[in-house]
Amino acid sequence: MEDLSKTCLYDRHEALKAQMNPFGGFIMPIQYSNIIDEHQAVRHKAGMFDVSHMGEIFVSGPDAERFVNHIFTNDIRTMPAEKIQYGMMLYPDGGVVDDLLVYKMTEENKYLLVVNAANIAKDDEWIRCQSEGYDVKIDNQSDQWGEIALQGPEAERIVVDVLGIPQAADLAFYTFTETVWNTAPVLLSRTGYTGEDGFEFYAAPEVIVALWDKLLEAGVTPCGLGCRDTLRFEVGLPLYGHELSAKISPIEAGLGIFVKTDKEEFIGKESIVRQKAEGTAHKIVGIELTEKAIPRAGYPIECEGKVIGEVTTGYQSISTGKYVCMALIDRTYAEMGRQVEVRVRKKTFAGTICKKRFYDKNYKK
């Protein structure tokens, strides 16, 4: 068995008898009760996730802004402090090293990069390798931070009333504040990965454990990574390794809006400019099956008897009941309304290419 890390909330998951599975090098809760109930709690009330496995890498120093803009696809130059941007780090060929959030800290010349758990070591090394010639300090603090995501329409009320943080009500989406809870510093961010309104708390492990206990006591549903995936999938958010990877560029994934080719330079720019001009060979699309079958990652997509791609993520959508998937297919077939077939074991099932957002996001502000 591989050597798996435990988050600071491991004992809490054990106490709740969560089903634990390896994910991104950590042993993580997949579900506590069942995925459907946890999913619905987030869509209609509030749920909380242990996301302490995510990585926190700080970049600071006189060249921090120029350096982050060099390795990141979005443009942080105009970004005020306490704002957050989503984007990717790219290889020169346009493939994705990782997708991440960049937080501009209130402290001058300091940024927090929040990266995927499975990619922490790879990202840390990548960032260091690119930093030659830049006056920056790279500090991978992933082991020193815990993180909870509180998501759902009731999230704001809970942060204000239960945790007593009134300024949460004024936080706009994709902004954060460095505040205090229970005398301890907490970074409170209005972000998430579910398509619902919500917050993410970053703090020292013992603070995160106390926060978890408080939220649990207030009746917030503990939610595992199982429903984190069904939630993000329904609103068309990508998961690294599925809809983005070293082989799937942001343009192929339909995420070109997060790649600012009007920036003077960034790693991968030439490839992306070319992909935008010439088009890519493949594209991520949505497919809705017209028959009852569940398309799973890796299942072939066929058209006119030919394999044209494969499923990247698929479910029976919990919120809509529909049988849907995202798939990476040959671009020449990627038109809305086209009829395709998904091979599920020995049979094929008819489907229609559609938007990859199967359920509307419900962000508050």
Partner: protein, 126 residues
């Protein structure tokens, strides 16, 4: 985890109950628990041939598809149509809700399967 005396069990977590040369096949409590909410059962059709240790269908939970592996060889004589609309029955009572009935062609294949005690020990070590 629940097991039932008198049934045969496979390493891929199917159970077999015999009535003469007829094998009634389902999934175990361990399997339904590991899969979570079952949302769909992909079953063969009556008269299909199944082979021991080969896939004959799949059980789909919210998160994944798990192949159903036949513990015995033979011909499908009945499928549990109730599961088509109510696959969650497999979560509620996996031993009461069978999946297929097979007319066995080689009943001695049952000798390769585990009894309830051995199966419980097998699951402990999973």
């Amino acid at each position: 985890m629940k097991t039932i005396e008198g049934l045969y069990y496979s390493e891929s977590h199917e159970w077999v109950k015999t009535e003469g040369d007829m094998a009634i096949i389902g999934i175990t409590d361990y399997a339904q628990h590991a899969m979570g909410d079952i949302v769909y059962v992909d079953m063969p059709e009556v008269d299909d041939e199944v082979n021991a240790e080969e896939e004959f269908g799949a059980v789909e939970s919210v998160k994944a598809a798990s192949d159903l592996i036949s513990p015995v060889s033979g011909t499908v004589v009945e499928v549990n149509e109730a599961l088509e609309d109510e696959s969650g029955l497999l979560n509620q009572d996996p031993y009461e809700n069978w999946i297929i009935k097979v007319q066995m062609s080689q009943p001695d294949e049952l000798d390769k399967l585990m009894n309830a005690t051995d199966y419980a020990a097998f699951c402990e070590n999973q």
